[in-house]
Symmetry: C2
Subunit: 604 residues, 2 copies
């Protein structure tokens, strides 16, 4: 039927030109006559979608703006998650290890050993360092801690809006739900497929949250190629439309390099305390905290100085020429000390042994004394609500020598880099500010140290001071805060915690899930900015801040900086940039372009 074939091709071209997209066409041929039944935009993989959008634009069938619009954040996200290797997938299908299919509710491939309850999942993952897939008939809100510990989640019941799906998407955990052909028997620690195959706890499983496929065994995975030319070209077009800058949160040189590769235009948040937790540094940090005198403390700080300086040298080199926002120490100091519970347990055991005359009394006494001394210090610093305690700028005011050391490390590193020909733009960021006086005081102290270093080094290095806006009061008095800040960065994680009075660590695996299931909250405010409450404060903060300082630079460095809906909101607020994890940078570039294009559309 060459005539019909020719006719079909012609109609196909017409339809694709009309709909400006590849078509999935249904037709029938009855007695040599072609009948067109239906046409719709064809389904496609993320790679195909991006390639198609780029090609259609190059063929001038759609504008570049339209091409950018047609690609979704999920398409981009695909490139940033591991996927099942195509060859391994085909081989598995041939071998018959594709055991079931369900709803593809959270993208990415996950490989791990099967576990049937959340506690085991947590234990295996955290204590035994195993990779696990949590398999449940239908997860309950109190399974969340197990989900968070798992590589992926599989449930035999539940739908796209089920609790498991919701949580998995929010945390970026690959998940397949509603796999009704699997019979999960938690009591007997096994599951049975429709063909009678039985998988037990500890057996390997591979799931694809992008397709909903479930394979027995350990399949190979690939990380999609972020240098794919279509991917790169489409994102470069997106960059042409967006008004928001996209920066990244990076604590180490290796993160900074990745961020740069993904297209970040700066570092929006470097958390300096992460460096303190490293194995060789922690004992020095602990001695510094426990020091009984200023002199003792100074000695330990002197040991930390070259380490921090080295961190900053690495960061400046990796990001040569781009701005680096360095947040001074933020967490309460007791986070660096040994666990209160562990110390207490050790002490009671020693006391009991001593009382029962079991062991060498002198040795026991000596050990007891040493442990008690540490416990005393830990108890003196223990807080009922550490989230609202002695941290951030409060710490900088309480223990000025600590932030002075950090300031010195930053500027000594900057001078060293400048001498090597590296271009540095350090931005010093002071966290948890709630009054303008504390910012003024802290900044004066740091300026003093900075001038001292630059004088010693005989150099001039430009640097800026700014602050996090992460406490409701800071947003409310942003006009006064801006007197002492050259930039603002919204710390929306903490701002959400304080605006709602919700402790995220406690609530996200607790009543917050319950709230979403009951429809009290339609979205997790820690994933997408709560525009009504937190957003109100942000808007006020921007307005008041720029009243005082017209060109005040304003960004966001909470996790919301990588969420498309939140990025659109930041665009509307007129922020200068969003800063997110390096892996989210490409998504943020697209989402920022969408926000700008949406505005153009609205203005038409």
């Amino acid at each position: 039927m060459p005539r019909v074939d020719k006719q079909l091709r012609r109609i196909g071209r017409t339809l694709e030109k009309h709909y400006r997209d590849v078509q999935d066409i249904e037709f029938t041929i009855e007695r040599g006559k072609l009948w067109m039944l239906q046409t719709r935009d064809a389904k496609r993989t993320a790679q195909a979608a991006i390639r198609l959008a780029v090609e259609l634009a190059k063929e001038r069938l759609v504008s570049k703006a339209e091409a950018v619009r047609r690609v979704t954040p999920e398409h981009i996200d695909y490139f940033l998650h591991p996927q099942l290797d195509a060859a391994a997938r085909s081989a598995a299908k041939e071998e018959g290890t594709l055991i079931a299919e369900g709803l593809n509710v959270s993208p990415g491939a996950a490989i791990g050993q099967i576990v049937f309850d959340a506690d085991v999942a947590e234990h295996w993952a955290q204590k035994l360092k195993k990779k696990v897939i949590l398999v449940r008939p239908e997860p309950r809100p109190d399974d969340v801690h197990g989900m968070l510990a798992a590589q992926g989640v599989l449930t035999s019941h539940g739908g796209r809006t089920s609790h498991a799906a919701l949580v998995a998407r929010q945390f970026g955990i690959p998940a397949v739900v509603g796999v009704v052909s699997l019979e999960v028997d938690v009591q007997r620690r096994q599951m049975r497929t429709s063909t009678g195959k039985v998988l037990k706890e500890g057996d390997w499983l591979s799931i694809d949250g992008g397709t909903g496929e479930v394979y027995a065994g350990e399949l190979a995975t690939v990380v999609p190629d972020v240098t794919d030319p279509y991917f790169v070209e489409l994102l470069s077009w997106a960059d042409g439309f967006r008004r928001l800058g996209v920066w990244a949160n990076a604590d180490y040189a290796r993160d900074a390099e990745r961020a740069r590769k993904f297209g970040a235009a700066g570092i929006g948040l470097c958390r300096t305390e992460h460096m303190f937790f490293e194995a060789e540094r922690l004992p020095v940090v602990q001695s510094m905290i426990l020091a009984r005198s200023t002199e003792q403390r100074a000695q330990h700080l002197a040991k930390l100085l070259p380490m921090q300086r080295g961190d900053f040298v690495g960061l400046f080199q990796a990001i040569d020429g781009l701005p680096v926002t360095i947040r001074l120490i933020d967490p309460p100091l007791h986070e660096f000390l040994p666990s209160h519970d562990e110390l207490q347990k050790a002490i009671v055991e020693l006391e009991t042994r001593l009382r029962l005359s079991y062991g060498d009394p002198e040795a026991l006494e000596a050990e007891l004394r040493a442990k008690r001394k540490v416990l005393d210090s830990v108890e003196a610093m223990r807080e009922q609500n550490p989230m609202l305690g002695l941290r951030g700028v409060r710490l900088g005011i309480h223990m000025p020598e600590l932030v002075r050391m950090q300031m010195r490390a930053i500027l000594e590193a900057a001078c060293e880099c400048v001498r090597e020909g590296v271009k540095v733009k350090p931005k010093i960021m002071i966290p948890l500010v709630s009054t303008s006086a504390e910012l003024q005081l802290q900044r004066a102290l740091l300026e003093e140290e900075a001038q001292e270093v630059l004088k010693e080094q005989g150099m001039k290095v430009p640097y800026q001071f700014g602050t996090m806006i992460e406490v409701p009061r800071a947003a409310l008095i942003a006009d006064r805060i801006a007197e002492f800040a050259e930039f603002f960065s919204f710390g929306t994680n903490d701002l959400t915690q304080t605006t709602f009075a919700i402790s995220r660590d406690d609530a996200e695996t607790g009543f917050l899930s319950e709230y979403m299931q009951k429809g009290i909250l339609t979205r997790n405010p820690f994933a997408t900015i709560d525009q009504e409450g937190v957003g109100y404060l942000m808007e006020l903060g921007v307005k008041l801040g720029r009243q005082t300082r017209k060109k005040l630079e304003v960004g966001i460095c909470g996790e919301h900086g990588g969420d498309p809906a939140s990025i659109a909101f930041c665009h509307r607020l007129g922020l200068d940039y969003v800063s997110c994890s390096p892996f989210r940078v490409p998504v943020a570039r697209l989402a920022a372009a969408h926000a700008a294009l949406g505005e153009l559309k609205d203005q038409r």
Copy 2:
């Protein structure tokens, strides 16, 4: 010199008429001639000041408004603090036990045993239940916990604005500072007077923070007479001027009676959970929390119901005819359970004994199992930041049967009282609301229970639903909250904590004192409302709330409700009432009148 005498009396009358106040006149008589040197308003005791104000007004030398204006909150406060008995004071002076005098920085008399450091003060007061006076050369910020445990504070150095004075005034602790004639020797645990008398730790001491006097020994005290006719009359005049209602916070019938006696027009806050801590109830509360099934929990709640009902009957009877605002359960449930640390210690001890084969293994095992079971429950409920955790309305949504029981107890009590001829006006207050949906849901649940009770009882009792505004988000979306609330009550303690991101329990004895000493904060925001930040949210809350519900009743029930500066602020915001502790009611009545009079003056 009868002529001069007569002349002096005449001039005195003229001066007092002119200055409209009792005068302290200096004069000299030289060679029979009277020379007037100086005149000023005479110093007086609180009693004298009030009496004088009332008498001047009765003689029409000043207006009633002026009389009210001349009395300060401190004068009123005097009537509410114990004072040294006048006879005991005279006797002590004769006996020579008035050992020193210093600066009178915080009013009231305090009697207790001398201690020389804060830890001992805390230990003696809390563990040994002794009354102590903390004596220090000059207290340091980390002495605050000792000050809070003490009856009174004495320091040999420091001035009116010293840290000790500041803290003492804010907490209402009688204090005398700058007693330079005392030589305090902390090492030797003693102090020496200028006459060589030595007082040791444990010796009794009496101080008068209103006069600055320090006596050795245990002097008798009196509580000034709040039925003093001048005091009563002046306050009744004040009531005529004020626009703000004055209510009281009262959890028990006896508090409610006192509040009424002091002139409260309602109960602004009854904390229902305080009743749960009573010795005979706590075990039932614990069993209810630890119940493994809904049926089990229902059984324990059924035992609590008559107890709570009894509480409310008492409260309604005591306050017959006035509104009673009953806040549903607020604190996280783990506050009612045994201490995590104590359980852990007991378990480690049992484990160690078992491991060392010390004692009957079966008995040890059994005890261990029981303790571990409780510890598991306590750990499951443990939160990193309980202040921001599962409490308030979140608890009511998570465990609806608990608040249903409370609602039932309130309405059954109300019906019982109505049948006895008592007039009841219950106002049900839902705490920690941050979204309108949670208030809507919780209210619907409670309405259902209420209707059920009233149907059973065959009666109609009027009741209202309202909410605390104590989370920043609630103030920001007050228009939507007001859709489901008939009244608002600002919980300024929690609102201050969340607006500043400060945990009061941790900070007030820690960095908050440091902040005040360094001038970062000029006032303790937990004593006087922070108008810039917390006040901004309150203003917004009132405005938005009344946009939705024009006649929305708005009050405040945080501790700020008894602070004159905060009361003036609440007056300006147009609140309906302030609610404070019963002992602060008279002060609040005066302060509210001052606020109204100040406004009249401004308008002139």
